[in-house]
Symmetry: C2
Subunit: 314 residues, 2 copies
Amino acid sequence: MIGNNSSAIGQAHARIKNYIHRTPVMSSRLINTMAGCDIYFKCENFQRMGAFKMRGAINAALSLSESQRSKGILTHSSGNMAQAVALSAQLLGIPAYIVMPENAPQVKKNAVASYGGQITLCESTIEAREAEASRIQQETGAWLLHPSNHIEVIHGQGTAAYELIQDNSPLDFILTPVGGGGLLAGTVLAANELLPDCRIVGAEPMEADDAYRSLKSGKIEYNSSANTIADGLRTHLGDVNFPIIKSHVGDIIRVEEEEIISAMRLIWERMKIIIEPSCAVPLAAVLRAKEKFKSHRIGIILSGGNVDLNNLPF
Amino acid sequence: MIGNNSSAIGQAHARIKNYIHRTPVMSSRLINTMAGCDIYFKCENFQRMGAFKMRGAINAALSLSESQRSKGILTHSSGNMAQAVALSAQLLGIPAYIVMPENAPQVKKNAVASYGGQITLCESTIEAREAEASRIQQETGAWLLHPSNHIEVIHGQGTAAYELIQDNSPLDFILTPVGGGGLLAGTVLAANELLPDCRIVGAEPMEADDAYRSLKSGKIEYNSSANTIADGLRTHLGDVNFPIIKSHVGDIIRVEEEEIISAMRLIWERMKIIIEPSCAVPLAAVLRAKEKFKSHRIGIILSGGNVDLNNLPF
């Protein structure tokens, strides 16, 4: 098995491997025929708490000093990072403080609570979330974890591609969705360590194409609106992950909303697995840009499976 | 690895293994905690064409003589057996004649056609289906395959439990849903060969509890109505599989419709896999009869994953 324990992603993998699932890689004959290439789906929907975010959260938590750990971890999130931080803290036996917008789905609040996270509700503006997090940080001394723009988070997220490359090399391309940029940057670093010739491609909704525009302009761009079903991809890049992405990602492919829904349905119907809209975006990109990927071996990180079954697009 | 190539199920497994997927076995910490036992789910929703029926169909087709094969295979079905026969015939390069009720979902007609099955539509009564099948049989000389009451079909279905026992022994119980009885009978035979102390339990909707009543009365009983969401379990046992079931199955547990839907939702939400309502029935039975299964190791055959996403119960 290829790997390198002295490298950053290899070290992160060695650190977290007993806390995460080594998720399976799946394929579909029918989808390969439709796409004209061989696709290896890394199933992070089967990861603990249902998404790759677990990798980054537990890696960051394990990187803390004992005294930092004892004060707990803090994050503000309405989504997967809230659950990932709560579960990571539970596994390490330390407090987790989670600021969630009051309009977050009840199912997500329940999941955070089931992992022992201490929830503080606030208004659903980024200002209110940051103010509340800041107040809790001052009160408790807890460590505030950013969901994507932190180097240990990036290293943790990179372990998904690290395992995918170990299990399915050679790969000509790896695609990930791009939201905050942590997964894409981590994937770049993993490929640099294990498979430097592999090309890393981001996939993004047209409706939230800040990363595409950032690559073009060379500076971090923002979304004035983000009217996409891919709710995990509405955020923007950060100053830690953007330089990594900029230096190694040649291409970000943008897709329409109906292409995302159609790719999501294809994976549900044919692979019989539940994925979030966000992780249908890379398959939509492969189907949109067939010529680019023709006859190649493609890895796709299926980032998570936490969907609200009461609110499906089909 | 335990196994016995001179036994009926061992021979069937050796015969079909290159035509099927060896499906994975999955578990869920949360579901184990809820149920108070360790459950090993055999994921036949990931089987080729999306259900365990592929095992029985291909085993039966491979058991035919060359001259029988050349005339093709015939079945009448609106469900998984139609797809299983069509795909099996395609793999062997022989004709498949599928009689389907005209009101069968378009998605199932499309799937059968995509495997090269020659579809004949008829009225949606059992009489019309049998009449049409009989006519085609006389015209073509094709071999009529019953979906559950044929010994080679039963042997093929038993290979799912055969693999499950090989991969996850020891098991104290294996549960399967009961529809036509082929899967339950095959599971009995597999356990007899590999793990005679393992108890085999059937699970059935209250709304179609013919197998439960058959075990009580000692003769094959029928459903006067079958108003259950578990559309694969509306049929009754047959004279080939009932003697096998009667001699070895101690218990058939019946569950309410809301228990089926709730177990289905639990598997979707927590395991992130898509299963048909029919295969949620065994988990519903374990959750209903917790005392019986407490602290034991339980195998459950998840029979299939072909659901109509436009018509979900949640």
